[in-house]
Every structure is written in C-alpha cells, then in structure tokens.
C-alpha cells in the first residue's frame, strides 16, 4: 500500500534503524495483514461452507477453542500492558499492532464457538480452561507489573507466541476447513510476533551480560507450564500419547536461537 513498504523493498538491505522503523510500523502491519484479512470475514473465505461435525469432535473443538481464547486473552492483556513499558516508539507501535492482532484472534475463535452452539463463551472458557494457561497468564502479568520488560517480552513474544504458533499450525493440518483457514491466518500473525520477540531480545542479550542467566531462570519457571499446555492441547485435539507429534521442537529451537538452553 505504501511505496516504502513490504512489497517494494528488500527489507534486509536496510540499515539497522531503518529496518526497525519499517518492520515495526503501522504501515508495515497494514501491508502484511492485508492479504489474509481483506474480504475474509471472521478469518475465512466468505463462501466457505460451515461443516457439521460429529458431536464428540464438536465437543473436543469447543474445548480446544476455549483454551485458544484463554491463550489469546493472555496475549491481549500482555501485549496491551507492554505498550506502556516499551523502550522505543517503534516497539510501542509494533505492540499496538499486536494488540489488534490478538483481539482479532480472540474474536474469530469466539465466533467459531458461536457457530458450534456456545451461547455464553465466557462461562464456557471458564469451565473448560486449562489451569496451566491461567497460571501462565498470571506469571506474565506479574512480570509486567514488576516492570521486568525483557522477562515479559520473553514470556509473551517468544514462549507464548511460539507455543501458539506450533499448536495452531499442527491443528490447522488436522482441522475442518473453516477452522483450518482461521488458524492459518492466526499463524501468520504469531510468526510476526515471535520475530519481534526474538529480534528484540537478541539485541538486548548482546549488550546485557547477565541477561542470558535472567531469561534462563524465567524459562525454567515457565517450562512446566509450557509442557502442561502442550499436553492439554494435544488431549483436546484428540491425540493418544503414542501418536503425539514432537510439538516442543519449535519451542526448543526458539530457545536455542536465543542461546537460552540450560
């Protein structure tokens, strides 16, 4: 949409600050999301037929979507609270785009719950929510309240986003057509969010000698919750323990890229 934006320039040819100015801008977000949001009401093609699912499958999907809503609410509360503490204007603007993305995800998942016959999503989310996700949200908001920006960005944009990216991508390959389309759009956003987290923390770790140790401690605190969230997600989608894919691989790779492997 803008001459100096996504389609017309080679991002990696830009100087460091120019690169950040570009990729963290509203304009860049605008161009990035245009392709998969334009004319896609509630995250799917306008003409896609809503499938009728077997009752057991529908019930599993409701539980899965309730937990996705819980995760997206944590991400929405986290990203919006992080805007205030963001150290640069670029980071503030990027996080504002992330706030809108997370809200959009919450909206499309709630809409899908409505299609599956859930009249009161908030009560259903409360009833079916995975306790590990509730605890993760609490940990994240505590880090934000304590003003620990690197820990909060790590928990939000690396751990939570990688977790969601991995589960959604896997689920999309195994879902009905409407859910699949919806999840593919969400995955595109999560990739952008985790990219911000890794890029931002990578720069911070390069200048902060004690940073790695601090984030490793956060990682160790969050690991049991991450394992419980992965396990709960696979239970909800309907995978027997023996057939489970190695979902934790993406998570471990993201941790490795930041050099945080214990």
């Amino acid at each position: 949409m803008t001459p100096a934006s996504a389609g017309d320039i080679e991002l990696h040819d830009l100087r460091d600050q120019q690169f950040l100015d570009e990729v963290h801008s509203f304009q860049f977000w605008f161009d990035s999301v245009e392709g998969y949001l334009t004319d896609r009401p509630y995250g799917r093609d306008a003409d896609v037929a809503v499938p009728v699912l077997e009752p057991e499958l529908a019930d599993r999907l409701v539980t899965t979507l309730c937990n996705y809503c819980l995760g997206e609410t944590a991400a929405l509360d986290g990203a919006s609270s992080l805007v205030h503490d963001a150290p640069t204007r670029n980071a503030k603007i990027f996080l504002a785009t992330q706030v809108a993305d997370e809200a959009r995800h919450l909206e499309v998942f709630r809409y899908r719950l409505g299609e599956l016959g859930i009249a009161d999503p908030e009560a259903e989310i409360e009833r079916r929510g995975n306790q590990a996700l509730v605890e993760f949200r609490g940990e994240l908001l505590d880090m934000i309240a304590a003003g620990d920006w690197p820990a909060a960005v790590f928990a939000q944009n690396v751990v939570l986003e990688t977790l969601e990216y991995t589960v959604f991508r896997f689920h999309a390959d195994n879902a009905d057509e409407v859910t699949r389309q919806m999840l593919r759009g969400v995955v595109a956003d999560e990739r952008r969010h985790s990219g911000f987290g890794e890029n931002h923390l990578g720069r911070w770790l390069a200048t902060e000698p004690s940073g790695r140790q601090r984030l490793q401690a956060v990682r160790q605190r969050l690991d049991p919750l991450v394992a419980a969230i992965f396990s709960g997600a696979l239970d909800d989608i309907g995978f027997a323990p023996a057939d489970r894919p190695p979902l934790a691989r993406d998570y471990v790779e993201a941790i490795d890229r930041l050099g945080l492997t214990a």
């Binding site: 999301v33 004319d39 919006s80 785009t97 706030v99 809108a100 919450l106 908030e122």
Partner: protein, 287 residues
C-alpha cells in the same frame, strides 16, 4: 449491551478502516500529496506547523498509553476488543503525525527533542490526569477521561484544523479526515459503554466529574497558550475562506479562534457527559 458492542468489533473495524476510508492512503494521505511549497519555504510558517503537529503527537501518545492500558482492566471481552482497535488507531495517529514532522523537515534523530521542545506543558498535565486513572486500573474514569474528554477535544480540534487546511493543505486535511473518523468511533464507544456503568456505580460520579474539571482546566490553559501567548501567523490575504461553525477561520483573530474552539469543545462535553449521566463541571478560568 452486547448488541451495541457488536458494532465495535474487529470485523467492523476492518471493514470500516483498513478496507474502508484508509484504503489507498500512505501515512493517512493520498499518494502524491505533499506539504505546500509555501509552507516549507517560510521558516515561520514551518515552525508553527511543527509546533502544532507536536501537540497532536503529544495528545496521541497519551491516547495510545491510555487505550492500551485500559484493555487489561476492561470488564468484558467485547470492550477489550474495541479498545484493542482503538490502541491500533492511536498508534497509527502517533505514526502519521510523526511522519508529518519528518515531512516538515524534522530529522528522525531529532524527533524526541522536538517533541520535548514544543509540547505544551498544560497538554502534558492534561494527559497526566488521565494516565493516573489508567495506571490505577480505574476503567470507568479512564474511559470517560479518554473517550469522552480527550477524544472529544481531539475531535473538535481536528475538525477545526481540517476546515482550515482543506484548501491550503489538502495533504494535511486528508490525514485529519481519517483521524476524525476514528475519533468519532471512539467517542461513540465511550458514550454507549460508560452510561450503563455509571448507572451501576453512582458513587464514582464525584471523582469522575472532578477529573473532568481538572482535565478541562488544563485543556483551556493549553488553548490559551496556543492561541494567545504564541498566536499562529495571520493567513495570507489571498487565502481562501475556511468556515467552521459559522466562523471564517481565515479572518478570525487568535482570540476569536480560541473562544470558538473552547465554546465548541465545552458544548460537546456538556452534551456527551449528559448522555452518560454526568454533569459538566466548569473549571476556574486559567490565568
């Protein structure tokens, strides 16, 4: 409540903004539009435009901090979703007004020092009153301060500036048109969502009206600074007429413009506060 809130969904926002009035724009204006050459060539006019734009950046930064801060204390998902769209709107406003500063010749590395140099201290205090409520997690006071008082003020200021710029600076006028459309939506949410909450929490009235009085004081003091203490240069004698609320802005004196803006904004405050069950409190006249 849920019916009205469905009008403020992300889906509606996508259809109205990115796929609606912002479609085809670049930083809020049309490709090919630029600041007028006369403005860029006249140092006095250029500095005045920078100073004016800095006030917009300062106001929008406060709005970004407030709307993002309110998401986490919103009592329901629908309000969270709307405030998420507002967060992005405000971030866009910060970006487009910063872009205008660059277009006016401010270097990127000088952005913060330029904002610090020109930001009106009374506007800063106006924002601090609001942000104290947001920091305390006070959703009702925060939304009244943000979506009724701050947005109500911005709405009228932008309308007046858009009327003045329509002929002289179509690029800036176009930028303002998009922000006015956003502000209208924000004010609408504030009026619709908060009325019921004020009814449920009548004990909050006194505190919120006091906040409004304090914010109105700093707003009027900022208007006074802008129009009377450092008045904008007179429009060129051949400038086209620009009318707003029945007044010819090209011929009006700074004092008349201040009076017009203050009267309009306060009139709007009274109407909107009334709709949500609050009384407008007139602050002391700033010295």
């Amino acid at each position: 409540m849920s019916d009205f809130l469905s009008q403020y969904s992300i889906q509606r926002w996508l259809e109205a903004c990115p796929q609606g009035y912002l479609d085809g724009t670049v930083y809020g204006y049309l490709p090919g539009q630029s600041e007028p050459e006369e403005l860029l060539a006249d140092e006095g006019m250029r500095e005045q435009a920078i100073s004016t734009t800095v006030q917009l950046v300062a106001g929008e930064r406060a709005a970004l901090a407030a709307s993002s801060g309110l998401v986490n204390c919103a009592p329901d998902d629908a309000s969270k979703l709307f405030l998420a769209t507002q967060t992005l709107d405000e971030a866009r406003h910060v970006e487009i007004f910063c872009q205008r500063l660059y277009d006016l010749g401010v270097k990127k590395e000088d952005l913060e020092s330029t904002v610090a140099r020109y930001a009106n201290p009374n506007l800063v205090k106006f924002a601090e009153v609001l942000l104290a409520k947001v920091a305390a997690g006070d959703f009702i006071a925060g939304v009244v301060g943000q979506n009724i008082v701050l947005e109500g003020m911005a709405f009228s200021v932008f309308e007046m500036m858009e009327a003045g710029a329509r002929q002289l600076n179509p690029k800036f006028a176009h930028t303002l048109t998009g922000t006015i459309a956003d502000e209208r939506r924000h004010v609408g949410f504030g009026e619709n969502r908060i009325g019921s909450l004020i009814k449920q929490h009548p004990e909050k009235r006194e505190e919120i009206e006091k906040m409004q009085e304090e914010m109105a004081y700093y707003m009027l003091a900022a208007f006074n600074d802008v129009f009377s203490n450092s008045p904008p240069p007179a429009a060129p004698s051949d400038a086209p007429e620009a009318e707003w609320h029945g007044v010819n802005l090209t011929a009006a004196t700074p004092a008349q413009m201040e009076e017009l803006l203050a009267t309009t904004v306060i009139g709007e405050f009274k109407t909107r506060l009334n709709r949500i069950g609050l009384e407008y409190r007139q602050p002391k006249v700033p010295a």
